[in-house]
Symmetry: C2
Subunit: 266 residues, 2 copies
């Protein structure tokens, strides 16, 4: 008699914390696809990248939210991966992160994103991951019924495909971004380099002392990139990523190093 296939273990996480409607859309989409655990940062941790908490301890609490169990960790999304793996989850077969309120488009945003940071951190551990984000401004937009169903269906189909077939060869992470409108198509595209010009604005507090806000203005999107696909064409962008940081074979670097070696007293 053939054995029933082992149910995959799925870690559901995000960087917006337990009260994000995007988290629960993601949960609904994948809850029947395996043994599903929800472990998230206890407060929003946008733009923490792959940051880790090494200099202070972390807390974890088990909550029930609308009847569903969620563990909250007092750290970053990358902390969540390690705490989850070493406590309630073990090594998952797949990490899904999101659905983020706001897009995570371009290398610039991907590398600072907590949503994508969680799956990149998992990738370092050899665990495949999918990050989902939606180019909406407000949590309420995620909950509009037709939009919610649409996102949920595509999250479920994509996650099912990856669980069934495995993460495609050579790919560590899929970065998926939904437009703010009901999408008309899905495109597999590369990430743009930049999404925003980054500026700061200087203000003065009531005591006259300056403070600074970081902010960005959208840069024009190059066709064929994730930014253009989602924001200009209203399509869903799927960007397959390898674990970042590419070593560059460079004869010039080798030559510079050889020259320096000749100048140093060893």
């Amino acid at each position: 008699m053939p054995q029933a296939p082992r149910k995959p273990t799925i870690l559901v996480t995000n960087d917006d914390g337990p009260f994000s409607p995007g988290l629960w859309i993601l949960y609904e989409a994948v809850k029947d696809l395996g043994n599903v655990h929800v472990v998230v940062p206890e407060t929003p941790k946008s733009a923490t990248g792959l940051g880790l908490t090494l200099h202070k301890p972390l807390r974890m609490n088990k909550l029930s939210y609308s009847g569903r169990t969620v563990y909250v960790v007092s750290g970053t999304p990358s902390d969540v991966i390690y705490v989850a793996m070493n406590t309630v989850v073990g090594k998952p077969d797949l990490v899904v992160s999101g659905v983020n309120i706001g897009d995570n488009l371009s290398v610039q945003v991907i590398l600072s994103s907590g949503t994508v940071g969680a799956v990149l951190q998992a990738a370092i551990e050899g665990i495949p991951g999918i990050a989902f984000s939606a180019a909406v401004d407000e949590p309420e937009e995620m909950e509009e019924e037709r939009y919610r169903e649409h996102v949920l269906n595509i999250v479920r189909e994509l996650t099912s495909a990856v669980l069934r077939e495995g993460m495609p060869r050579g790919v560590d992470v899929l970065n998926v971004n939904f437009p703010s409108v009901l999408a008309r198509d899905i495109a597999v595209v590369r990430a743009a380099r930049k999404r925003f010009t980054t500026s700061i604005v200087k203000r003065r507090d009531p005591r006259g002392i300056p403070y600074y806000w970081l902010y960005g203005q959208p840069v024009e999107a190059e066709p064929g990139t994730d930014v253009h696909t989602v924001l200009e064409k209203g399509k869903i962008a799927v960007t397959p990523l390898k674990l970042p940081v590419s070593y560059v074979e460079s004869e010039e670097v080798k030559r510079i190093v050889e020259e320096i070696k000749g100048k140093i007293t060893w």
Copy 2:
């Protein structure tokens, strides 16, 4: 009469803050190579990766430390890049970061490192950068006279070469790591994938409530990697990096997406 060449603008930063002896070794090494500005996080920001501060304002203060001017910013190394560029520095020709107390070896560590994060963030803006780290445990080790001179000389030679010749073609960032001993050689090597197994330890506070510490045990270093070069062979490792996140051309991803497109009601 030929014009004197324009002096390059150099931004000196780190993730350990203004009191790190490594910062001032770096400053001494490059101070005669251009117009040098020192802008750093006001407190240590290890392991913040490319994290940005978007949800609260930042402060910047000008300090004098042993007669040298240093600006301190209440944010991450990536925040420092943007604040510096938009206030006291303008767009620099080169960013140098470090010298970090502790190595920044392996993809795992590089992506969570604030020291490397600063130069990767600058690379997104098209600015070349060099990150310097030393595999020492204590700040005092950096100040041992022969070690200090040795590090200072190599930092100066490498920075001079990059200023003189430009960053080698195809390279965005150089990640340089010194062993804890006086190095015997420099090698150009790729980054290992991992430096540490990541674990957590559970303890109980005096009230009996659990808390967790993230920590790592070194993994065995593969020959030919940065980890092996610095920690096993006692050489300096220079790792040329491209701006991370590689798009992967994957027919499998395209096929999965085509299948999903057929299942969705658009």
